[in-house]
C-alpha cells in the first residue's frame, strides 16, 4: 500500500467538496432534514402515547446511526460515480494505483464525507430535542464501526454493479439502502418482523447494531457479545464485497468496458 497515492485520490475528492459551497450544503442538508423529521415525529409519539414514552432519544439516535450508514454508503458510491460522470475513469485506471489503494482511499474519504454531513446534524439534535448521540459514550464507536464497514460493503457492491453493468446501474445505487432498511430493524425490534424475515434479518449486522443501541439506551448496559457479533458479520460482508469488486474489475477488463465508461 502506498499511502501517498491513497492520499492523492482522497485529495481529488476533498478538492471536489472544498471547491463547491452547494456541495457542502448538500452534504449537511439531508442529515439535518432527517433529524428534524424524526425529532418531531418522535416528539409527537411521546406526547400521544404511553407506549412511546421516552422514545425521542431512541428513535432519534437510531435515525442518526442509520444516516451514518446511509451517508458512508452513498459517499462511497458518489465518489465512484463522480469518476464516471466526469469521464475520468480511464485516467484513473491507467494511473499506477492498485485496486486495493483505490478501495482504501474511497473507504477513508467516505467517512470524511459522512461526518461532514452528520456531525452538524447530531450537534443540532442536542438543543432542539435534548438528544445527544454522544451520550452513548465509548460504545458509540463500537456501533459506528460495523455500520461503517457495512456502509462501505454496500458501496463496494454497488460500484461492482457499476463496473459490471455500466452507468445504467446508477439507480440501484440510490435504491440499495432502502431495500435493506426494513430488514435492518432500525426503528423497531426484530420481533415485529415475520418469523421468516427474522431469520434473514439476523444475517445482517444492522439488526444486532440497532438492537444493541436500544439495549444501551433503555437498560444502560452494554452487551459486548452482540457488538462483537455485529462487527464479525460486517467483516465477513466486507471481505465478500472486496472479492466481488475485484471480480467485477477483472470482468470489466475482460469486456473492455474500463476504456470508455462514461455518461
Amino acid at each position: 500500500m502506498n499511502f501517498s497515492k491513497i492520499y492523492a485520490l482522497g485529495l481529488r475528492h476533498i478538492y471536489l467538496i472544498s471547491n463547491s459551497l452547494p456541495r457542502i450544503i448538500d452534504l449537511i442538508y439531508w442529515p439535518t432534514v432527517q433529524i428534524f423529521l424524526w425529532g418531531f415525529i418522535s416528539k409527537f409519539f411521546t406526547l400521544s402515547s404511553d407506549y412511546y414514552s421516552n422514545t425521542v432519544g431512541i428513535i432519534l439516535t437510531a435515525a442518526i446511526l442509520y444516516d451514518f450508514l446511509f451517508r458512508v454508503s452513498i459517499s462511497f458510491n458518489m465518489m465512484f460515480l463522480e469518476e464516471i460522470w466526469s469521464r475520468n475513469f480511464t485516467n484513473l485506471f491507467i494511473a499506477p494505483i492498485r485496486i486495493s489503494e483505490i478501495i482504501t482511499s474511497l473507504t477513508l474519504t467516505a467517512i470524511l464525507r459522512a461526518l461532514i454531513g452528520l456531525v452538524p446534524a447530531a450537534i443540532l439534535a442536542i438543543p432542539l430535542f435534548g438528544v445527544s448521540v454522544f451520550k452513548l459514550g465509548l460504545p458509540l464507536l463500537f456501533l459506528l464501526l460495523p455500520l461503517y464497514l457495512f456502509g462501505v460493503t454496500l458501496g463496494l457492491l454497488v460500484t461492482s454493479g457499476l463496473l459490471r453493468f455500466g452507468p445504467s446501474f446508477e439507480n440501484i445505487a440510490w435504491a440499495s439502502l432502502f431495500f435493506l432498511a426494513p430488514l435492518g430493524c432500525i426503528y423497531y425490534p426484530i420481533e415485529i418482523l415475520p418469523n421468516s424475515l427474522q431469520i434473514v434479518a439476523k444475517g445482517l449486522p444492522l439488526v444486532h447494531i440497532f438492537e444493541e443501541m436500544r439495549n444501551i439506551l433503555l437498560n444502560n448496559t452494554v452487551n459486548y457479545f452482540d457488538i462483537i457479533k455485529s462487527i464479525s458479520i460486517s467483516i465477513v460482508y466486507f471481505i465478500l464485497g472486496v472479492i466481488i469488486f475485484y471480480s467485477s474489475y477483472l470482468g470489466a477488463k475482460q469486456r473492455g468496458t474500463l476504456i470508455n465508461m462514461g455518461e
Binding site: 471547491n19 485516467n91 485506471f93 477488463k253
Partner: protein, 244 residues
C-alpha cells in the same frame, strides 16, 4: 526493441476486434496506428495500457511481459492522452495536475507542474475549473497530465481531434519538441494524415482487426502508387484487404 506485440487478439463475445497482430516499436521512435473507425486501434491501445485483457498473445515492454510486470510499476512509466477521456471537471487545472502528479509519484511535483504548465502555456488558466475551459485549453491540460510523469511510453489517441488549426499546430509542434528533448516512445492513433506524416517515423495500418500494411509513410505511399498518405489511407480503407 522497446514495445513488442506478438499475436495479440481480442474477442468481444463473438466479435473479433483484434486479430493476431504483430508489431514492434524501437525505443524513442514514434509510430502511427492508422485505420478506419472500428478497426481495432483503441482496443489495441487499451490492451497495451492494461485496461483490456487480451484473449490471446503477448505484449512485451522492454523485454518483459506485460502480464509478468507489476501493474503499478509499468503504469508509472506509461501515460495516455485522448480527447475522449477527461479530467475531473470541477477541479482546477492546478488541482488536477497535483492529484495526477501525486498518483504517478512525481518527485519535486511543484517544479514539474510549473515546468509543464509553462511549456504548454496553461499557466494563465491554472486556477480555473477544467470543465470551464475551451476544447483547446482542455486538450493542452490533458497533454500536460499525460506528460506529468515524463513517461517512457506515451499513447496518444487523436491528440488534436476537434482542435482549430492553430492549436492543433501548437500541440503537434510541442510533441515534436518534447520528443527531441526527452527519451520517449510514442504510439499515435490519428485520423489526421498530415499529423501522422509530420510526427511518425513509421506507420501501421489496421483494418477489421488486422494489420494490413506497415512501413515509413514514404514507403507506403510509394508502394500503393498514391500522392500522399490521405489518398493511401482511402485506398486501403475502401479497397480489398491487403494483407502483407
Amino acid at each position: 526493441m522497446f514495445i513488442q506485440v506478438k499475436n495479440l487478439s481480442k474477442v468481444f463475445k463473438k466479435n473479433l476486434a483484434v486479430d493476431k497482430i504483430n508489431f514492434h516499436i524501437e525505443k524513442n521512435k514514434t509510430v502511427g496506428l492508422l485505420g478506419p473507425n472500428g478497426c481495432g486501434k483503441t482496443t489495441s491501445i487499451g490492451m497495451m495500457l492494461g485496461l483490456i485483457k487480451p484473449s490471446d498473445g503477448e505484449i512485451i515492454i522492454n523485454n518483459k511481459n506485460l502480464d509478468s510486470l507489476k501493474r503499478d510499476d509499468i503504469l508509472a512509466r506509461i501515460n495516455f492522452c485522448s480527447p475522449y477521456i477527461e479530467l475531473p471537471k470541477k477541479l482546477t487545472v492546478k488541482q488536477n495536475l497535483e492529484v495526477y502528479g501525486r498518483l504517478y509519484g512525481v518527485k519535486d511535483l511543484n517544479k514539474r507542474i510549473i515546468e509543464i504548465s509553462e511549456d504548454l502555456d496553461i499557466k494563465s488558466f491554472f486556477n480555473r475549473k477544467t470543465g470551464e475551459l475551451s476544447s483547446g485549453q482542455k486538450n493542452r491540460v490533458s497533454l500536460a497530465k499525460s506528460l506529468i510523469n515524463k513517461p517512457e511510453i506515451l499513447f496518444l489517441d487523436e491528440p488534436t481531434a476537434s482542435l482549430d488549426p492553430d492549436i492543433g499546430d501548437f500541440v503537434r509542434s510541442y510533441i515534436q519538441e518534447y520528443r527531441s528533448k526527452n527519451q520517449v516512445t510514442i504510439l499515435l492513433a490519428s485520423h489526421n494524415m498530415n499529423e501522422v506524416e509530420r510526427l511518425c517515423d513509421s506507420i501501421i495500418m489496421m483494418k477489421k482487426g488486422k494489420i494490413i500494411d506497415r512501413g515509413t509513410c514514404e514507403e507506403i505511399i510509394k508502394k500503393h502508387g498514391r500522392n500522399n498518405l490521405e489518398e493511401t489511407f482511402l485506398k486501403l480503407a475502401r479497397g480489398k484487404d491487403e494483407l502483407q
